[in-house]
C-alpha cells in the first residue's frame, strides 16, 4: 500500500486515491502512416516491463485527477522520484 506524493497536490496520499497508468515515456509515433506493422506492435503492445527502477505513470483518480510520472523500484516498491509531465522526459530521466 503505497504512499504517493502527488506532484500537483503536493501531498503524500494513500495508494487508494491513485490508479496506475502504465509504463512512462511511450511516445505516440509522429509519423503513423509510415510505420511498419512491427513498429506499431512495438508501440501498442510491447513493454520493457523492467525489473528494477522503473518510470511509470500514475493518475490521482480520487484527487486532482491529473496524470504524473513516478520512478519506482519494481523490486522493493520504493518510490524514488515523482514528477509532473515535462519536468522529466525520456531524454533527461535519471
Amino acid at each position: 500500500m503505497f504512499l504517493i506524493d502527488c506532484p500537483y497536490c503536493k501531498e503524500s496520499r494513500d495508494q487508494n486515491e491513485f490508479s496506475p497508468a502504465g509504463e512512462a515515456f511511450i511516445a505516440r509515433p509522429q509519423n503513423p502512416e509510415e510505420l511498419s506493422d512491427d513498429e506499431w506492435a512495438d508501440y501498442v503492445f510491447y513493454r520493457t516491463n523492467h525489473k528494477g527502477d522503473h518510470w511509470e505513470q500514475w493518475v490521482h483518480t480520487n484527487g486532482c485527477r491529473k496524470f504524473f510520472l513516478v520512478k519506482r523500484s519494481t523490486i522493493s516498491h520504493e518510490i524514488l522520484e515523482v514528477a509532473a509531465f515535462g519536468e522529466v522526459t525520456s531524454e533527461n530521466k535519471s
Binding site: L3, D14, H77, I79
Partner: protein, 478 residues
C-alpha cells in the same frame, strides 16, 4: 490444578465464571484463558492428532499453541479453530474440541499400519482417476479440524485509520521502554503501542517473585504510560489484545484488535464491535515482538503434558495453575532453571536435566542447586514413556565429540507427570519479513535474527536474542 495461596495480579478469584467444555461444566476465574481454567480443573486432553487421532495436551500458553484447537459457541456466534490458550474466559462460555479426545476415534486403529503409510502416501496411492474420484470425498471428511460455521455472523466489526510517527509492536519490557523513551524525549511524536496480551509487560511477571526491582519497574513504567495516555489529545495509543498481522509497503500496517472471542456483544440497545481492524500508517516501526520458545526433540515428545518450559512458568505465575505434581525440566539453556525455581517455590517436586555438561555454571544454576533442586548435567532425554500422558522418561549421559553428540553409559528411567522443555528461543521475525526484509542465522544465539539495517525500522529486546529483561531495557533505550 490450581495452587492454593497463589497471588496473581491477573486472576480475580472473587469472580468465579462457569463454562462448558466438551459437554461438561467447569468453573474458572476472571483473567483465566480457557486453557488455564481447564488446567485448573485437571483437564489434560484438548484434542486429537490429525492422522492417527492420538490424544493431545497443551504445549504452549499463547499464540504458539499447536494442539488445543476448539470451536466456540453455536449458531451466529459459532467460531471454528480457536486456540484455547487465546480464548479469554467469560461466564457461560461453551467450547468443543475440534477433535474430541474423549469420544471413540477409529483413527487409532490405523496406527499399526503406519509402516505402510510413508511420507507422500496419497501421491503414491489412488493413482487411477476413477478410484481417486470414488475415495476423495471420504478422505476429505477425515481431514479438517473444527466444523465449518453454518449460520450468519451476528456480530459487528469496525475499522479505524491511524497515523503515527512511531508504531511499536510488542508491549513487553523492550516495547514499554521504547515507548517511554520516545514520549519523554519528544513533545510531538505520536506513538502506537500494540500488544497481543490483555496486560502490558510480556514475560516480565515471571521475574516478580524473585526480583522486587522488576515489580517496581513494571508498576512505574505502566503508570507512566497511562499518564501519557490519560490526557487530552494524548500522543499515545495503547492497543491490547491486538495482533499486527500484516506489514505492507511504505509502512502501512494492519492490526486486528479482539474485543471478544465468543461472548455476546449485545447489551440492551447497544452492540459493540467484536473485532476492530486498525489501519496504521507510520513513519517508523519498532519491533519488540520477542521470541518463541523451541521444544527439545526426542522420541514420542508429542504425549500430553510435554510442554514448553516458559509456558509452564506462565501458567504457574500468571494463572496459578500447573498440570503436574512431579515435574522434570529439560533443556539446553538457563531459562529452565527459572521455571524450576518457581515450581520449587510452590513446593512441587521438580528435577532439571540439562544437556550441557557441568562446569562454568551461571548464577541461576547455582541458585537452583542451592535450593535443593536435583540437577542432572550432561544428560539427554531419549524417549518419553506413557500411552497418552507422559509417565516417565528415559535419559542417558551425552557428550560432544567433535561436532556430534554421542551417548555414553547406559540409559536410565525417571518418573514424571509433566515434562517442560526449552531448546532455546526463536525471535519473532515474521512481521519483519512481510515486506521484503531477510533474516540471517546467528551462530551465537543459534537462531534466525532480523536483517540488521532496514529503513524506518528498529528492533529491540529478545527479537534480537536478548534474554535478560534489564538488558532489554538498555537495548530499547538506544
Amino acid at each position: 490444578m490450581r495452587l492454593k495461596n497463589h497471588k496473581s495480579d491477573y486472576i480475580d478469584q472473587s469472580e468465579a465464571l462457569s463454562f462448558i467444555f466438551n459437554n461438561r461444566s467447569y468453573k474458572g476465574y476472571k483473567g483465566d484463558t480457557l486453557a488455564s481454567a481447564l488446567i485448573a480443573n485437571d483437564v489434560l486432553f484438548f484434542a486429537r492428532s490429525f492422522k492417527y487421532g492420538r490424544k493431545r495436551g497443551l504445549m504452549g500458553s499463547g499464540v504458539e499453541e499447536p494442539n488445543a484447537l476448539v470451536s466456540l459457541e453455536i449458531g451466529g456466534r459459532y467460531t471454528p479453530n480457536l486456540k484455547a490458550t487465546e480464548v479469554m474466559l467469560y461466564d457461560g462460555l461453551s467450547a468443543v474440541s475440534s477433535s474430541n479426545p474423549n469420544s471413540l476415534d477409529f483413527r487409532a486403529l490405523i496406527k499399526p499400519l503406519h509402516r505402510f503409510m510413508p511420507a507422500g502416501f496419497y501421491y503414491k496411492t489412488f493413482i487411477k482417476q476413477k478410484v481417486w474420484a470414488m475415495v476423495e470425498d471420504s478422505l476429505r471428511a477425515l481431514s479438517g479440524f473444527s466444523k465449518a460455521p453454518t449460520e450468519k455472523d451476528e456480530d459487528l466489526y469496525d475499522h479505524i485509520f491511524h497515523h503515527a510517527e512511531v508504531l511499536i509492536v510488542g508491549g513487553g519490557v523492550a516495547g514499554i521502554t521504547a515507548a517511554l523513551e520516545i514520549l519523554n524525549n519528544s513533545k510531538t511524536t505520536r506513538v502506537i503501542l500494540v500488544d497481543e496480551r490483555a496486560h502490558l509487560g510480556g514475560e516480565l511477571f515471571n521475574e516478580f517473585k524473585s526480583d522486587d526491582t522488576a515489580i517496581s519497574w513494571h508498576h512505574d513504567s505502566v503508570n507512566k504510560l497511562l499518564e501519557f495516555k490519560n490526557v487530552a489529545n494524548s500522543r499515545l495509543k495503547l492497543l491490547s489484545r491486538s495482533t499486527a498481522y500484516a506489514w505492507y509497503d511504505h509502512n502501512y500496517i494492519e492490526v486486528l484488535q479482539t474485543n471478544a472471542t465468543g461472548e455476546s456483544m449485545v447489551s440492551g440497545n447497544t452492540q459493540v464491535a467484536r473485532k476492530v481492524l486498525h489501519k496504521i500508517r507510520t513513519k517508523e516501526v519498532i519491533l519488540a515482538t520477542g521470541a518463541h520458545e523451541r521444544p527439545m526433540l526426542f522420541e514420542t515428545n508429542d504425549l500430553a503434558n510435554i510442554m514448553l518450559s516458559q509456558s509452564v512458568r506462565r501458567y504457574l505465575n500468571e494463572f496459578g495453575v500447573i498440570s503436574g505434581k512431579d515435574v522434570i525440566l529439560y533443556g539446553n539453556n538457563d531459562s529452565i532453571y527459572g521455571t524450576a525455581i518457581d515450581i520449587k517455590d510452590n513446593e512441587i517436586n521438580c528435577k532439571v536435566i540439562d544437556v550441557r555438561a557441568s562446569g562454568s555454571e551461571s548464577e541461576i544454576v547455582l541458585k537452583a542447586k542451592k535450593l535443593g533442586i536435583e540437577v542432572l548435567q550432561g544428560y539427554a532425554v531419549l524417549k518419553a514413556h506413557g500411552t497418552n500422558l507422559v509417565k516417565g522418561i528415559e535419559i542417558s549421559k551425552v557428550e560432544m565429540q567433535g561436532k556430534k553428540w554421542k551417548l555414553s553409559g547406559s540409559s536410565k528411567k525417571l518418573n514424571c507427570d509433566l515434562l517442560a522443555s526449552s531448546g532455546g528461543f526463536n525471535p519473532v521475525v515474521h512481521l519483519d519479513c512481510h515486506c521484503g526484509a531477510k533474516t540471517f542465522f546467528d551462530e551465537d544465539s543459534q537462531a534466525f535474527l532480523p536483517q540488521k539495517e532496514r529503513k524506518n525500522r528498529q528492533v529491540c529486546g529478545s527479537i534480537s536474542a536478548i534474554g535478560f529483561w534489564k538488558d532489554a531495557v538498555i537495548d530499547a533505550k538506544k
